[in-house]
């Protein structure tokens, strides 16, 4: 398996980044109210530490992680907790989730996090991981997996390799590019902290070939830090090269086992934004209460990147960007390939909000009518997981669990490459997304059936044995005493 083999999959998509990278990162204006959903990371919802009418200060913890995979939440502003109630959140089509609503008093009174430290080298790696966890930092690439949980599962004796993911392959998103251009030192600082926390051997920053300014900025920052463990690896600008598993194959030439994690092959991958957030926490004591959000698309007047506090309404960012244009048609959080479609903009920025696309019909033309698959195979050429989407599609109707499992339906990463190239305009990814739970359920059902059968047999045998013992006892009792035993 070589890196070049990966390049057989994926697509060279037309980039739309220039639109949002003209201006530097700007600070989003403050809003009246901040809505902090409790489930804005993957894993379990956080547990609130505050109750309505409590006063909170900026950076104060307002929710603690549930046991298991979860993360801390901090208040982005100072003010009063107005309510803890279900509010629309930017996932699952804007379905409401339990959120803490904070009214901003505009004073930004800071809560002093006692634990903030300046020199991470003084604490042990395990403590460093815990410390990073207390900042509520999650993967900022879009998946929002709690960083502390990822680091815990990655601690290995012989030292993993750290990979900082700056390959932003989605054509519309530019928040990581702007971050690398303007805050390269934060990234390098965060990288060194992660190296320490993981006892990692070295750190590779992956960056796409088409962002020379960001490359230069990072090189300067590395030189300034004088850390020889950190290097830069330029990867081709192919979608989805920034997917964790795809990036690992491109950079290291090894594949992550389908049933394993990158840590299993001694690699830990973190987004560059995550590294910068870690730097701010360790150096400045600032927990994860803001992030850089790209607002772009033909549907807003002025595209750009904004440093927005978590909980800022989308509508406020849209106003900052000059408001909607007349052509505004669709709202998407995330990229054009994998982003979540949203029905309205009364939604808060969450830790996973890397981009808001206000799309016009010029950006995203609707699909034409679906035709039958002609098995042209464009999809299998584009698939970065080396699947055969045309075969998967064939075996979906009617659903054939055996064949779908054989063809690796569960290995689909839903990147959308197959959809993109399909001449028959078949919504393949949507179908696969729907079919995955069905297949999982079918495969699980087989396992549980086997277990149930085993227990049923064991029980029947036990009952039979008890019955036999019981009869033997009865027989012994009934037997007259003087009868000789045989």
């Amino acid at each position: 398996m070589t890196a070049s083999e990966l390049l057989t999959g994926g697509l060279r998509l037309e980039a739309h980044k220039q639109r949002s990278t003209k201006a530097p990162i700007r600070i989003a204006s403050l809003a009246e109210r901040y809505v902090i959903p409790l489930d804005q990371h993957s894993g379990l919802s956080a547990v609130p530490l505050v109750k309505p009418s409590d006063r909170v200060r900026m950076w104060q913890p307002i929710a603690q992680p549930a046991p298991g995979i979860s993360a801390w939440l901090h208040s982005p502003v100072s003010g009063e907790v107005v309510a803890i109630e279900p509010r629309p959140a930017p996932h699952r089509l804007g379905a409401p989730t339990l959120s803490i609503v904070i009214a901003n008093d505009g004073r930004d009174e800071r809560f002093e996090n006692a634990a903030a430290i300046v020199s991470f080298e003084q604490i042990s790696p395990t403590e460093a991981c815990e410390h990073i966890g207390r900042a509520g930092i999650v993967g900022l690439g879009g998946a929002a997996f709690p960083t502390a949980n990822k680091l815990e599962s990655s601690l290995c004796e012989n030292g993993p390799q750290l990979l900082l993911n700056g390959a932003e392959c989605e054509p519309y998103i530019s928040c990581d590019e702007m971050l690398m251009r303007e805050r390269a030192e934060d990234i390098v600082f965060g990288g060194r902290a992660l190296l320490h926390a993981l006892c990692a051997r070295n750190c590779t920053i992956a960056i796409e070939e088409d962002v020379p300014e960001a490359q230069a900025a990072l090189l300067r920052a590395i030189e300034k830090a004088g850390d020889s463990r950190i290097r830069i690896k330029v990867v081709p600008a192919i979608y989805p090269a920034g997917g964790e598993r795809q990036l690992i194959a491109t950079v290291f030439g090894v594949e992550v086992p389908h049933d394993g994690l990158p840590a299993d092959i001694g690699i830990v991958c973190q987004n560059v934004g995550t590294a910068a957030a870690i730097a701010r926490w360790i150096r400045d004591g600032q927990p994860l209460v803001s992030r850089i959000v790209t607002v772009t698309g033909d549907g807003v007047t002025e595209a750009g990147n904004w440093e927005a506090r978590i909980g800022t309404p989308f509508s406020s960012l849209i106003v900052d960007s000059g408001g909607y244009t007349e052509r505004m048609a669709r709202l998407i959080m995330g990229g054009s390939m994998m982003g979540i479609p949203l029905p309205h903009d009364d939604l808060p920025v969450v830790k996973a909000t890397n981009c808001i696309i206000a799309a016009s019909a010029l950006d995203l033309q609707p699909r034409s009518a679906e035709m039958p698959c002609i098995r042209c195979g464009n999809c299998s050429q584009a698939c970065p997981a080396f699947l055969l989407p045309q075969q998967l599609h064939w075996y979906l109707q009617p659903f054939d669990g055996d064949q779908l499992a054989r063809h690796g339906l569960l290995d689909c990463i839903e990147c959308g490459c197959c959809d993109y190239v399909c001449p028959s305009q078949i919504p393949l990814v949507e179908r696969f997304r729907e079919a995955k739970p069905l297949l999982t359920r079918e495969l699980d059902a087989r396992l549980t059936a086997d277990a149930a059968r085993a227990r049923f047999i064991a029980r029947n045998e036990r009952l039979a044995r008890l019955e036999a013992e019981h009869r033997a006892k009865l027989a012994a009792k009934r037997r007259p005493r003087n009868e000789p035993t045989s």
Binding site: M328, I374, S380, P384, L387, V421, S424
Partner: protein, 345 residues
Amino acid sequence: MTFPTTPAPHVVAHDSVGRVMRIVIYALLPTVLLHVAFFGVGLLVQITLGVATALVSEALALRLRRKPVEPFLKDGSAIVTAMLLALCLPPLAPWWLVVSGTAFAILLAKHLYGGLGANPFNPAMVGYAVLLVSFPVQLLQWLPPAGMDMEQVKLSIGETVQTILTGSLPSRLTWDAVTSPTPLEALRTNLKMGMTMAEAQAAPIFGTLGGRGWEWINLATLAGGLALLGLRIIRWHIPVAMLSAIVISASLMYMVDPGTYAGPIFHLTSGASLLGAFFIATDPISAATSDRGRLIYGAGIGVLTYVIRTWGGYPDGVAFAVLLMNLSVPLIDRYTIPRIYGHAR
């Protein structure tokens, strides 16, 4: 303000089945043009008849199956089928040949199996094989290519149309005077008569590379095929595998006995080798799915084509070879699923 929501991905390349088929049709045009230059306008009449039949059959089948008619008529797949079939028929073949063959292809080989995308056998080749097996005489009535220094029998456009529609030649001509075997057929007959390869190929019907006229038509096909490759309508696996298989088989036998077996160049430039490699075998619906599968599929067609041509009873083997490999496609697909990312080989 509310916005419509559609699932990701939100952008798609605006490709369509219709575009793919249109490009295939354009890529066939050089072949058609040279064919007309060497064999007269018969082919155009055949294509017209074939396309008309194909569209009518398609509409009929769609109506019967209660499917929308318009999008499927517009996709152009029926036109491609009709053109490929017409290209395989002799230019003066009677009208009912192309009509029945095309109707058979569309109705039976395509719609019986579920229409576009579901047919396991190449419809055009099913149609051709049925005709070849049922009406071998009519299918061997080829014309001599233009520019041969044997006695020229030119038919005017009107006479061509008349011949095709009535099935009989103008009274001044007889079939024996008009027709001439294809190079492959001529070679077979000559060799059977005990000629050596050199003697057999000395006949005026043979040109520099292969058959006279045919070599140019095949070069045009090659150009069209390369265009398809360049536009990424087809991928290299099937043509390369099929042509290399033909070349390797032919070279091997040629090395064994150059007196009995024609060389690889002759095999490439005669018959339907190139048309088959670039336009027929590459029909994605009836071809194997994975890259590895396509290599096996193409190579199989190449070898079978050579075998049938060289030792079989029919003049060309491409149609039968394609059908035989179509038959094996589900099996090939079953055993050539590519390794998935993160899985051991």
